[in-house]
Symmetry: C2
């Protein structure tokens, strides 16, 4: 059997990305367009089809050697039915049969996968979690997504929505979350939350090197905060430590829930590197139980922004191999 | 093929229970001895072997139709290696090869299973969770144990210790737990915790009908507290509500972790019945997110104290069917 290829598509609130991926997980061509998410869903699907054609033409693959299209999308969604129930950043995708529309538009088989699961698939396949059968990945961005693999398979659950770990409650009656709950992990450890807390403190008069690094409080990014932490800025260090402690609490709960061998930290915040990884590892050691020696290894994601494309394509190739 | 039988053994800190179970999950005979857990492990194993002989003799089963012995025990333990790493209430079982010792002592094949997983197996097999492929069970006793089933299989994880949900953290920097962590679920919602909080309040002068129901604060049981709740006692109601809210927080986290169709509440505290179930259900509705309609059904366990025996035997029968 010759090489197989698949197209991976990663639909986000800002950009649609597509790429052609081979059966070793290598990304051979890539194309990107803005999502413009307020548009009718069919217009977005038409752009997806165009991107798929572009990456196929830009690659060395024959059309007949391409297995199909894997589509990664925010959810909640149903992989088995190929439907997006709703997605906060894609308001026109409400109970939308995205999988079948993309299959029609591209003339190829398609599968639909949660975007965090796609990224986790990629990291297990060719990234930081290579070969780990029991693995959890956090994607730390505006919110916190997650992917859970148990004995080599993605955990889906009775409603196909397992592993929404950004909404595990780590503080009873804690901060309100947009999901309707209180005390969700993502209210303590997401990139957006870190930025919000630093900005608020500065508006209330707190002194910080961030005034120099970023200028106005409105302009601060999580990357700026990480830089301020490296420079020893006391405001940034305090808020960063607290966020990393919250993330470590999340890792403790992941340990007790799934007993994974590896926890991968991905998403934009993971670009902070050692300043994130070291703080989470230390706080985990300080918080975790002493009854059993079952500490997972905490590692940084390796595939960056391409993980979603690679993992969506990999999910398509796997679906073909294990129908 | 004729009927198959297995012996189920449930080893606890207070009692060793054994029973003969048929392949429909019916308990045909049963025998019990005190554990006397300070004894050398080999003496305890000898009693297990005696109990096994007793329940076989007291049953209509031929010896050759008995598949083997399933042993449920507190952990952490390794089912694949048949070893108990350690168990808080069984101090002489340290890195002890219980499975093989029982197999030698009884002359039959044996499997080792976490006691909470045994109870969960039984409730899925012939109890409150009958037929649910995605199910989580909490056993609410002195501590809080749990069992997690994903797509019909027990969740074991990379270190064979997944689903220790009594030690999920629901309050950052919360109450200290004997496991070394802070804010563990079982510090808020176990039977022992409820009793401790009520007793402390009474010692500090709080008025309660429990003085009549139980007498001295030292004599109060969780059953007494449940009775006081039914009588509308304000101290008991306040602490009970808080414990049920903590348990509902645990259920929210279980929803996001595993997306089960059913959550079974078992263990001694579940004997409280509606006063537990209604409060947990109401608090879950109040706390849970509004983004997706994936609420599990919360139900009370049905098998009571025999669940451990039945599930251990069932685990043996399943191991035979799927080696």
């Amino acid at each position: 059997m010759g090489s197989q290829f698949a197209v991976g598509v990663d639909i986000g609130g800002s950009f649609i990305k597509a790429g052609l991926v081979d059966d070793a997980g290598a990304l051979l061509s890539k194309s990107v367009r803005p999502t413009l998410p307020q548009r009718p869903a069919d217009e977005i699907v038409a752009d997806v089809a165009t991107l798929i054609s572009e990456v196929i033409e830009a690659s060395p693959a024959d059309r007949e050697s391409i297995a199909g299209v894997g589509i990664g999308s925010p959810g909640p969604l149903s992989p088995t039915r190929g439907i997006i129930h709703r997605a906060a950043n894609l308001p026109t995708f409400k109970n939308f049969p995205l999988r079948d529309r993309v299959a029609e538009g591209s003339g190829m088989p398609a599968v639909l996968v949660n975007d965090a699961n796609a990224a986790g698939f990629a990291e297990r396949w060719v990234g930081a979690g290579h070969g780990a059968d029991n693995l959890v990945m956090f994607t730390l961005g505006t919110g916190i997504g997650s992917a859970v693999f148990v004995d080599g398979r993605v955990l889906s659950g009775g409603f196909e929505n397992a592993g929404e770990l950004g909404h595990m409650i780590i503080e009873r009656n804690g901060r309100p979350c947009s999901c309707g709950q209180r005390g969700c992990l993502e209210q303590y450890a997401s990139a957006a939350n870190i930025v919000r807390r630093v900005s608020e403190a500065m508006r209330q008069g707190a002194d910080s090197v961030l005034a120099k690094i970023a200028g106005a409080p409105e302009a601060i990014t999580a990357k700026d905060v990480a830089q301020a932490v490296r420079e020893g800025d006391s405001l940034a260090v305090e808020i960063w430590r607290d966020a990393c402690a919250a993330l470590a609490t999340g890792c403790v709960n992941v340990l007790h829930a799934y007993n994974p061998r590896v926890i991968v930290l991905g998403g934009g915040l993971s670009g902070a590197g050692a300043v994130l990884l070291d703080a989470v590892r230390q706080s985990l050691q300080a918080q975790v139980w002493s009854l059993h020696d079952d500490l997972p290894e905490i590692v940084l994601a390796e595939l960056g922004n391409d993980a979603g494309i690679i993992g969506a394509a990999g999910t398509m190739l796997q679906a073909l191999a294990n129908p």
